[in-house]
């Protein structure tokens, strides 16, 4: 599989992934996703590879408290529990979304 290189650093023999610039890494990853509906990646079903990778990566990343803080999740309920359940209600230790107008879904509108 040939990968077009944005930085021009990916020759016919390629580079180790860790030597790649971010743009080239993104191209490598994107090439797998582009094959995910029925194509193959190094002889493997690309859809399965993509599903496995993304789930492993998300499981690792969103296991960490800094990632929880980034999305407004205050951590597991235990042992404190929740006392303010409901729309727009916060626990004393929860922080309101500081940029509520930024909605990734509507970004393209």
């Amino acid at each position: 599989m040939r990968i077009a290189s944005r930085s021009g650093r990916l020759g016919p023999t390629g580079l180790a992934v860790l030597q790649c610039r971010n743009a080239d890494r993104a191209d490598l990853v994107q090439a797998v996703q582009d094959q995910a509906s029925g194509g193959t990646w190094h002889g493997l079903p690309a859809g399965h590879v993509w599903s496995l990778w993304t789930r492993y990566a998300c499981t690792a990343f969103y296991s960490h408290p800094p990632a929880w803080a980034e999305i407004g999740f205050p951590g597991p309920a235990y042992p404190r529990g929740y006392k303010n359940i409901g729309v727009d209600k916060l626990e004393p230790y929860e922080v309101r979304d500081v940029r509520p107008a930024i909605d990734p879904v509507r970004k393209g509108d």
């Binding site: 993104a26 990853v29 996703q33 993304t54 789930r55 998300c58 499981t59 990343f61 969103y62 296991s63 990632a67 929880w68 980034e70 999305i71 407004g72 999740f73 309920a77 929740y82 303010n84 359940i85 729309v87 727009d88 209600k89 916060l90 929860e94 309101r96 979304d97 509520p100 930024i102 909605d103 990734p104 879904v105 509507r106």
Partner: protein, 243 residues
């Protein structure tokens, strides 16, 4: 059971009438999430905080048999990331989308897929590292199954829109594998009788989800436990009668 062969059961234990392994069932389990301007913080109400069986029974006015239940599912961050990734996002885009977590609320459907004889487990030619044949799992959805999943998604989208969501996203999932040694009136139609005793071998009982002849549209764990407890009651009653 298919791998337990003998002179009496050349096609596998209790399989004289080609019933073992048939009528496997899963539930269609699509999950639909809606985006609200308000902060919902769904993680504070673990599943199923609210559920409905309004759509559970066969409705003659609909073009499909049986139905589905709807419940809140409220995925935590790791599982929510699976919803977002299923929309095609990854990397920076996924993190940005994930940062909107507190604005989302998520519902799940459990659709009663029909029992079909061709949905079954058999033995493959391939062997595992112990030399045992591996299981071959054959499963296809019928038109009714697909219609149920579509209907459940439509209902979940309607509920979320009615509540004020302006965007909805859906992932397709499947849950709760049961069947394969179903309870029946006789050995021509199933593997065990009403007390979970196998038709072929009187001192063999099967007490897990494989005896379920239909799927239902709820988590089957409590039903499986109730059926097993009932079978245990018959076992102890038989034992008491023997002395």
């Amino acid at each position: 059971m298919p791998n337990s062969t003998s002179r009496r059961f050349p096609g596998g234990l209790c399989n004289e009438f080609d019933q073992v392994g048939r009528y496997l069932m899963v539930q269609g389990a699509p999950q639909t999430a809606g985006r609200f301007d308000a902060e919902v913080r769904m993680y504070k109400a673990p599943p199923p905080e609210v559920s409905t069986e309004e759509f559970y029974e066969t409705d003659p006015a609909k073009g499909y048999k049986r139905g589905f239940s709807i419940q809140t599912v409220s995925p935590l961050p790791i599982t929510w990331a699976e919803h977002v990734a299923a929309q095609g996002h990854w990397g920076r885009g996924l993190r940005e989308y994930m940062s909107d977590y507190v604005h989302w609320s998520c519902l799940g459907g459990l659709c009663e897929f029909l029992p079909l004889p061709e949905n079954r487990v058999t033995l493959a030619e391939e062997r595992d590292s112990y030399g045992l044949p591996v299981a071959r799992f054959s499963y296809s959805q019928c038109d009714n199954d697909r219609a149920l999943v579509r209907a459940a998604q439509n209902v979940m989208e309607d509920i979320l829109h009615a509540a004020g969501a302006d965007e909805v996203i859906t992932i397709q999932r499947y849950a709760h594998l049961v069947g394969g040694a179903r309870m029946a009136q006789d050995e021509h139609n199933g593997v065990v009788d009403r007390n979970c005793r196998s038709f072929a071998v009187p001192n063999l009982y099967i007490t897990d989800g494989s005896v379920l002849p239909t799927q239902g549209s709820a988590n089957p764990a409590l039903t499986i436990m109730a059926v097993a407890a009932r079978a245990a009651g018959h076992l102890t009653a038989d034992a008491a009668g023997a002395y």
